[in-house]
Amino acid sequence: MSWYHWTLLSAFFVFLICSGWQLFQIIRRRTRDYSPPRGKRVNALIYAFTTAMLPLNKESASHHLPSYVAGIIFHLGTFVGFFWLIIHFFSIPVMKETRSASIMLLIVASIFGLILFVKRLFNVNLRAISQPDDYFSNLLVTAFQIVSAAALCYPWLIRWLFLCAALVFLYMPISKLQHALYFFSTRIFLSQFFGKRGVWQFRR
């Protein structure tokens, strides 16, 4: 393994330790709910991660469809970036068509990332609630997607992708990017709340 492999691996290890600690805190500090249930929590859990996220059931999505779509594609791009990071790290052979489709998606995702950045910069409401961390996190992830797309075209850029990914891993536990981890625990807690009270029930 080269130095940039080791850099990425070290950063990932730091990320794992920090994230593991944060997850441990959430689990350790769980409190018991003594109120008797009225609904099924498991139904609400399914609902929370499926139809509750659709624009039909969420005004933050239905009233802001362009932002919702941009956000979805931006996040999809990040997942694709991490997928290619694994592929590059372990030198796994991948079909050419997958590579081309990924380049397209990463380019579109990074454009949406930049659009969301500009929106945050110029929208009065968003600017009022934003911190430097919000802008930097957006740019960092967008940069990761751009480098990821570039590395698919020019393999010599893979080392830069690894360095960029290392920065993402190191920055994640101390910044807004933590939501990648806490999103899931938050949805679970939310489903417990509405599920136990019988408000959210999964309906096919």
Binding site: T31, S35, S60, N125, I129, K176, F189, V199
Partner: protein
């Protein structure tokens, strides 16, 4: 760390309070807000004002920035980078204005948040810090103090309550023409202990009469305690967990003392939520009795055929306002719809409704905080528009805070509707039948 304020001990108490409340759920929420700003249109305050300070994300920021400053090392080293902030006088003043003056804890933003933060939990946490800082709105605090001192938030003397209930019982006997009809007081071993809102005893006694009439018709074994009867828990709104726990403990003790199997919460959204959902966690034990909303009881009575309703009596178009703490945060969603469809001829739903219904603006302790009245009325415009769009002539809602707010909106926005409690509309439609215990009153006497 240097704390830039004079009341250092209070600040430390507030931070200690935050530390105590940092369970897994709160931690998760504190880290989850991505400040996407898409929550705004789910909030009636933001919709009415378009003020970025009213964004639910800004409510989250009020507590998140304090957490970051004192409990994360990035917030300690680079506060400006992550929006961390000292708990100093300007931050406290802003927190008071935002979390008391700009939120009713209705939870609509939670349903529509991109991530799914329980924003009222965060707002209530901020309010709990303000309890330690002695920054609770005087009106709200006086309601809590009255309940703690006298056992009810309107400080009604016990003799006055007993007089009112005896008078209502006599009235009931006349109305149903049966001298056996009564409002049982402090009856040990009754199956149900019914709570009332002190506001009913003072200003809306007819809603107690309505319930007594329904219970009489259904031949229920019930009682009202003249010692501990207050359905409300304003400490839930103020964020004072200790006071809220004590108020729950009183109802818990009284239910056990009278040996009731079911504690029935009168028409009160937050009171039901506080006792049914939050209370066991404040007491740190499950109850040995059931807690039910009066809405659930009425639905059971209709479903089981214990009472009969004649919808033709209520012929005007009726709409229903869903109290947030009873419906979205309490899980009583279909019961009142089921009953109201049996009790009225024309029922028109508001849009949106159920868990998506807009708050009327009277929750969160707003009615007790006179200093935010104009903002409350402005935020209530969303509810007023909802009501107007139904073309209904009667608005029914099973919550006295909602009743008061909608009555005020009715005047302010000239809606031209009548506002009724749930019990009133059901009692109006009640079909009385002769019971086996029926002893007619000689009206000549």
């Amino acid at each position: 760390m240097i704390i830039k304020t004079n009341s250092t001990s209070n600040i430390n108490l507030a931070l200690e309070r935050l530390k105590q409340r940092l369970d897994g759920q709160l931690l998760s929420y504190l880290y989850s807000c991505v400040r996407c700003g898409l929550c705004g249109e789910s909030c009636h305050y933001y919709l009415a004002t378009r003020d970025p300070r009213c964004l639910p994300a800004n409510q989250v920021a009020q507590i998140a920035r304090i957490y970051r400053r004192y409990f994360t090392w990035v917030g300690r080293l680079l506060p400006g980078w992550v929006g961390a902030h000292d708990l100093d006088e300007p931050a406290i003043a802003e927190m008071v204005d935002v979390v008391f003056g700009g939120c009713t804890l209705c939870g609509r933003c939670t349903v529509h948040c991109s991530v799914g933060l329980d924003i009222p939990l965060l707002v209530r946490t901020a309010r709990s810090l303000l309890v330690e800082l002695k920054k609770i709105s005087p009106g709200l605090q006086s309601s809590v103090d009255a309940a703690m001192r006298t056992g009810n938030n309107m400080a009604i003397p016990r003799e006055d309550l007993v007089d009112t209930l005896l008078w209502l019982a006599q009235d009931l006997q006349m109305e149903v023409a049966d001298e056996a009809a009564t409002i049982p007081l402090d009856k040990e071993g009754a199956a149900m202990l019914y709570t009332i809102n002190p506001r009913e005893a003072k200003f809306f006694p007819l809603s107690i009469s309505a319930i007594a009439k329904i219970f009489y018709a259904a031949e229920l074994d019930w009682t009202i305690s003249t010692r501990t009867y207050d359905v409300t828990n304003y400490a839930y709104f103020s964020g004072d967990d200790e006071a809220a726990r004590k108020l729950v403990q009183r109802l818990y003790d009284e239910t056990l003392a009278l040996g009731a199997q079911t504690l029935v919460m009168a028409e009160c959204g937050h009171g039901f939520r506080a006792m049914r959902w939050e209370g066991p966690n404040w007491l740190k034990r499950p109850y040995p009795f059931e807690v039910k909303s009066i809405i659930e009881i009425l639905a059971d009575l209709v479903r089981d055929g214990r009472i009969a309703l004649d919808p033709s009596v209520n012929s005007e178009p009726v709409t229903l306002h869903d109290p947030c703490n009873l419906v979205r945060c309490g899980g009583i969603i279909e019961e009142h719809r089921f009953v109201i469809r049996q009790a009225v001829s024309q029922f028109i739903e508001m849009t949106p409704n159920r868990a998506n219904n807009y708050c009327c603006g009277g929750g969160g302790g707003q009615l007790a905080m006179g200093e935010y009245r104009l903002r409350r009325i402005e935020a209530g415009r969303i509810k007023a528009e909802q009501i107007r769009a139904t073309n209904a002539k009667i608005v029914v809602t099973p919550c006295h805070n909602c009743i008061d707010q909608i009555m005020e909106l009715n005047q302010q926005y000239q809606l031209g509707v009548k506002v009724k409690t749930f019990a009133e509309i059901v009692a109006d439609a009640l079909v009385l039948k002769a019971t086996k215990h029926h002893r007619p009153i000689d009206r000549q006497q």
